[in-house]
């Protein structure tokens, strides 16, 4: 799915959160969003998911204005994993992933084999099959995060929005998640705090104070001057043993 963000602004109670953002995300691209705390990553994600209405500008998904797209059709094409979402309901892991099929079901069109297969595949992709019958409140933070991702995968979206999906995950699951996301043949937008993980993206957007500070390939964008200016850290870039660029952060400026 191609995403075009045109002169997007968003505000809450007249406080501007995002200002005049314009960029595009190509079909099939893995687009990273980075920026300090409070720079507007989650707010932008919510606009891309169609959950928040922009106060000005628009978001086009394959040329169609997201604001005018019916919620159900939007949910078949766009899946969103929020930064934090919890429940007190007594749901099993499988129940939670089954929610991802909601946009495909109607009061009269019941559950089918296809839905079962989608749920099982999604559970397998995040390695949570063995947990299928566990209750939600018994899961650890990282396990919950993986179930959320499975739910989003069960939606079979064309655009996957992940807001800090590696939060709570141990290093192996971080790497396997990024690997999984990297191999998905759909458009993906992923907000990340680990800048070394961001180097795996096709392109990244850097946010600062609700504005788009820079966009481009990680190798162009993630340089010492930008890191000092946006994140306020001193960093050096060197090559890892496998030849990929690695950032080393020495101290806060």
């Amino acid at each position: 799915m191609k995403i075009e963000v045109q002169a997007l602004s968003a505000r809450v109670h007249r406080t501007p959160l995002l200002e005049d953002m314009t960029f595009r995300i190509e079909p099939g691209e893995l687009f990273g969003l980075i920026g300090p705390n409070g720079s507007g990553k989650s707010t932008l994600m919510r606009c891309l998911a169609g959950l928040s209405r922009p106060s000005a500008g628009r978001v086009l998904a394959d040329g169609a204005d997201l604001k005018r797209m019916p919620a159900r059709r939007r949910a078949r094409r766009i899946a969103f994993v929020e930064q934090q979402a919890d429940t007190t309901d007594r749901l099993t892991v499988r129940n939670a992933v089954e929610l991802g099929r909601t946009p495909y079901l109607s009061p009269l069109r019941g559950w089918s084999e296809i839905d079962d297969a989608a749920v099982s595949d999604a559970l397998k992709a995040v390695e949570m099959t063995a947990f299928a019958t566990r209750l939600w409140h018994t899961l650890s933070g990282g396990e919950r995060q993986r179930v959320h991702i499975a739910r989003a995968l069960a939606q079979a979206p064309e655009l996957l929005l992940l807001d800090e999906p590696t939060n709570h995950l141990d290093i192996r699951h971080q790497l396997s998640l990024l690997d999984l996301v990297g191999r998905l043949p759909i458009t993906r937008v992923i907000a990340l705090h680990d800048l070394n993980q961001a180097t795996a993206c096709d392109r990244i957007g850097v946010l600062r104070g609700g504005r788009l500070f820079a966009t481009g390939a990680p190798s162009e964008v993630l340089n010492e001057t930008l890191l000092a200016e946006v994140f306020g850290v001193a960093a050096t870039r060197h090559a890892a043993p496998d030849g990929a660029p690695r950032l080393h952060f020495s101290h806060a400026l």
């Binding site: 919620a71 979402a85 007594r90 909601t102």
Partner: protein
């Protein structure tokens, strides 16, 4: 995976077939048991006489008690139980608050104010019945709560929908307090002792005035309510992870919330206007059913409606027989059973 999935899917079907049987048996039991206990066979014969003119020899007085008093009373009790429990299910799911119930939304308080204004203060000049006054009061109070909640959350319906849910609970408490104060004010100002006693009785729930005329409206709203909730079962499920979660799953949150909450408000308004304010059913039954059948609404909705119906018919029977020669208000029984049950649920919920 299919091994696990198969029994899960057939269970509600079997329950669905069983539900009408259980409900019919409960209503029959509610008709047979009372201050004078009537044999089941007499109840069945009376029904056969009335429905198919079967011509069984049944004592005229017994037949009158069964057909004119106990049967409509049991049916209305079942409808109220189902309706109140469903309202609890819907409000708890949509507002993401385990304490949400019809009381909290100001519905019961508004209904009593309306009833008191009509019966005691004489609003409407006799042209308006107490039921109509109660219905009007319930909907007015509910409207106030919604408007207040909207004002509190700054009308930010779109994004911060979870915050709006908290606001509506606070608004409900404020609205209930205000309407209860109004009721007390009207009673203190203009009711005589006799009227005050009658009103108190009504406030705790009173099924003794129920006749066949009330059956139609009560069964209509509760059956429609069950149907609507089952129709929207997936939408209710989608609220598990909050209103934003539901929106990203393709649910039109304002539309679903608006229509379901309005529908339940009308349902409770009609029920409360017939039988008075009965507490704890809407709060306790859904929680108890979540323990038994899980949080999925394809099972929770029918299970809660059935359990609510059975619970209220049983509570009505108890209220009639527990003190010989006297009928307790049914709300006393539901609260005496419901409050400890609710405490148990809270403790177990906290411990898990």
């Amino acid at each position: 995976m299919t091994v696990v999935a198969a029994p899960l899917r057939t269970a509600p079907r079997r329950g669905l077939l069983l539900a009408p049987v259980v409900l019919a048996l409960t209503i029959l039991a509610g008709t047979a048991i009372g201050e004078t206990r009537l044999p089941f066979i007499t109840v069945l014969q009376t029904l056969a006489n009335q429905l198919w003119e079967a011509g069984y020899p049944v004592d005229r007085i017994d037949a009158g008690i069964i057909w004119s008093y106990r049967l409509p009373r049991a049916i209305v009790a079942a409808c109220c139980g189902a309706g109140l429990a469903l309202t609890g299910v819907v409000l708890q799911a949509l507002l993401r608050n385990p304490l949400a119930d019809p009381y909290l939304m100001g519905l019961s308080a508004g209904a009593s104010t309306g009833a008191v204004l009509v019966t005691v203060a004489g609003v409407g000049g006799g042209a308006v019945s107490m039921s109509l006054g109660a219905l009007g009061g319930a909907l007015l109070a509910f409207g106030c709560v919604v408007v207040l909640a909207h004002a509190v959350s700054g009308g930010a319906g779109g994004g911060r929908a979870t915050q709006a849910a908290a606001a509506i609970i606070l608004a409900g408490i404020a609205g209930s307090q205000m309407f209860n104060a109004l009721t007390a004010f009207v009673i203190a100002r203009s009711a005589n002792a006799e009227q005050a006693r009658g009103i108190m009785f009504w406030l705790m729930g009173n099924l003794s005035g129920v006749r066949w005329e009330d059956v139609a409206s009560c069964s209509l709203v509760s059956i429609a309510g069950v149907g609507l909730c089952i129709w929207h079962r997936r939408g209710l499920d989608a609220f598990s992870f909050g209103a934003d979660g539901a929106a990203s799953l393709g649910i039109n949150v304002p539309a679903l919330r608006g229509s379901l909450i309005t529908a339940t408000a009308i349902m409770v308004g009609v029920l409360v206007s017939k039988v008075g304010a009965i507490g704890f059913v809407g709060l306790v039954v859904p929680h108890a059913m979540r323990f038994l059948v899980g949080a999925r609404h394809d099972r929770l909705v029918p299970a809660s409606a059935l359990a609510g119906a059975v619970f209220l018919v049983a509570a009505d029977v108890i209220s009639r027989v527990i003190v010989p020669g006297q009928v307790l208000p049914i709300g006393v029984v539901t609260a005496l059973v419901g409050a400890p049950a609710f405490a148990l649920i809270l403790v177990r919920g906290a411990r898990r």
